[in-house]
Symmetry: C2
Subunit: 424 residues, 2 copies
């Protein structure tokens, strides 16, 4: 317990900002990371920084889509069950056979799925339409020209764009890049994020709790959320409320980071809001009051610019200061940090998916602020959870959605249609 | 090109199976992995094998939800702007202060958000209701008993279950576990998956293509899909179509795997379907024809059982043999391997999310088989892509959904409502 105190701070940069206005502030200041060339498996989940085109026509050669016999359609034109066409089988081509073969008129070549069509053949007769012969084959059904043949270029022409820059490489896109022959791709790297919880009250989960302390959940939660949003968590740690020590602690952890995310130390209080005080002194971070609940106090800027704050005086590193209550930190991360991570990755696909649902119970919201209330979405209904205060984390563990209550509303009854954000 | 051939195989175990019947075959044979205790950060994305309860009441002590002054409500009962209550400020308690304090009647103690309430106080007056004084404070609004106080146990009672076994540890659940003091949790480990593409025609992306060959995309795609479904890909490689070599190659790669997934070598053909031939000889893998398109030929069983197939003769390892066409392999993975990975993880949350949408164009489907057609889902409409053959991977790269056409339907017009599976 310390004696004395300080003056209350004046909120800057002024009045309440809307969620969208603050998102725009962040978006305007963040540019994508410099692309890197990665081996395909290492690029999983990353965003393409280039178009991927087919190096060659796909398929690159005519091939069979079935196990059967390569023939000339004319040689089996009259084939029927009562009057099968009998052809000598002159050989067999397996998938992967890189030899060059020619079909002589009046003969058949056994051919496997994916095997290259011999020159002179213009149809494949599936084995099911034959007696399966290996020396001579009886074919009891005519095959039209082109039957069971995958033509060169039938999937994509040489040079055709298969994937465009900005596409995230999910499993299907990985397959398309591999099938186009790409061993490496140019992608935006995964952002390296440093996650810092601040506060003297924090102690590590798994250690004993002294009255007055709480277990740190924010750094674990934000690290997990950052990884879920495609980032690599470069470092996760707790910083103490030491006014002289905060900036050095941030500096020390800055090296190599693409984004710093802190929680705590940014509310309206005095000398205990050490993160806010230290960063304000730096002059490159601005603090905002955003018209939302939870999550009103927010801060965004850069650190390390012009030698300020950074070790090497080199790059500017963006920093987001989130409020310290766990639910406030979580909601703020999803609404502000997730799009910022998308921007670093050259993507715009990280907004939470939104849907509409019907409330099963009433909700309340402060006037003039957009509420994000924890809920359980089940089909087209959403149930608000009890325990909506921003320190109540038990209900966060049960939620799968955030119920959005628009700024003008102060209450909504059961049965109201609401926008719902689906949580990752 | 080889001369001669073999007898066509007879399909076993008999007639066409439904998708659900084959899923049930797999589900009945897979049991969850043995749980492990992991540090919280390492357990991200894993499924809990235990309930997580609050080690202590949460919060574990009465604390302030705002920056302000701890008071006795009785001492500020008459406070108003015209007649403020004046109280001596006897000190200050910051968050994290582990001292024990007592509020004397007629005094106030400055208190910060999250700080422990001093004994004798029964309300917190927000700083906004005061003149912010540090020696003496003028309070211009009465605070009812309990104001701005987070009571011990207000989030969860000691021993209360916060997360139940079977819950996947997403960021919010990580936060709940951390806030409950858990440094480690018992979870089902990530399944270790070995992914094998088979086929003489396969060559590595990034290397030159000889006519007759194609670039291997399956192993990259299945590895990415397995990782997306929570697995660790233990090994990814290509196995040649060598009848004598397949089983040794599988054996060699078996060690440490929780699931083997192969692609290729399982169609109805003869000696070229070396995977099927080798595994059938083993006697512990069954091959099925599933009433779907793409993906009809499927195989499932165990390898390594009773010394068969395995190096050490120890554990039985489940094996799924998927068809070789890339789109068939992809769809088969999502419909069969994904739920199998969920079962290994003690979860049931890995079925693809389903929604309903309206077709923007007509689709076709073979009678008696359920089609999974690639489409682009946009809101409530889904557009079938052109290029639906199972080797056509270009359209797979553009798809974000699979359109489900039920078994009896052979065509559906534009405007029809269909079930759509949203792709990860």
């Amino acid at each position: 317990m310390r004696q004395g105190g300080s003056q209350p701070e004046v909120a800057v940069p002024g009045s309440l900002s809307s969620v969208e206005a603050y998102q725009a502030v962040i978006a305007s200041a963040i540019t994508p990371l410099v692309p890197v060339s990665l081996e395909l498996a290492a690029a999983e989940g990353c965003v393409l920084a280039e178009d991927v085109t087919a190096a060659v026509a796909l398929p690159s050669f005519d091939n069979s889509s079935m196990d059967g016999y390569a023939v000339r359609a004319a040689d089996v034109a009259g084939a029927a069950r009562e009057s099968p066409a009998a052809l000598r089988v002159s050989g067999e081509i397996a998938a992967g056979d890189t030899g060059t073969y020619r079909l002589e008129p009046g003969t058949a070549i056994r051919i496997m799925t994916g095997a290259r069509l011999p020159a002179g053949a213009d149809a494949v007769v599936p084995v099911e339409w034959t007696d399966g012969g290996t020396v001579q084959v009886a074919i009891h059904r005519a095959a039209p020209e082109g039957n069971a043949i995958r033509s060169v270029g039938g999937d994509a022409a040489a040079g055709e764009t298969l994937l465009t820059a900005g596409t995230r490489l999910r499993p299907m896109q990985i397959a398309a890049a591999a099938s186009a022959g790409r061993g490496t791709v140019s992608v935006y790297p995964r952002p390296r994020v440093v996650v810092l919880s601040t506060g003297d009250e924090l102690t590590e989960p798994g250690t004993p709790l002294v009255p007055g302390q709480i277990w740190d959940s924010n750094s674990y939660m934000i690290a997990a959320a950052a990884r879920e949003a495609g980032a690599v968590v470069h470092r996760r740690s707790v910083v103490r409320d030491d006014p002289a020590g905060v900036l050095p602690a941030l500096r020390e952890r800055l090296a190599g980071a693409d984004l710093l995310v802190t929680t705590g130390g940014v509310s309206m209080g005095g000398e205990h809001d050490v993160v806010k005080a230290a960063l304000r002194e730096l002059g490159t971070v601005t603090f905002w009051k955003v018209a939302m609940q939870p999550g009103m106090p927010q801060g965004f800027g850069v650190i390390g610019a012009d030698g300020k704050g950074g070790e090497s005086g080199g790059d500017k590193t963006p920093i987001l200061t989130l409020p310290g209550n766990p639910v406030s930190a979580y909601v703020s991360f999803q609404i502000f940090a997730r799009p910022a991570l998308a921007a670093l990755q050259g993507a715009d696909d990280l907004n939470l998916p939104a849907t509409a649902a019907t409330l099963t119970g009433p909700v309340r919201s402060p006037s003039g602020r957009r509420s994000y209330l924890r809920g359980v979405l089940n089909g087209t209904e959403v149930t608000p959870l009890s325990g909506q205060q921003s320190h109540q984390i038990a209900s966060l563990g049960r939620a799968n959605a955030l119920i959005v209550v628009p700024e003008p509303e102060t209450q909504l009854p059961a049965g109201a249609r609401v926008e719902v954000l689906v949580l990752p």
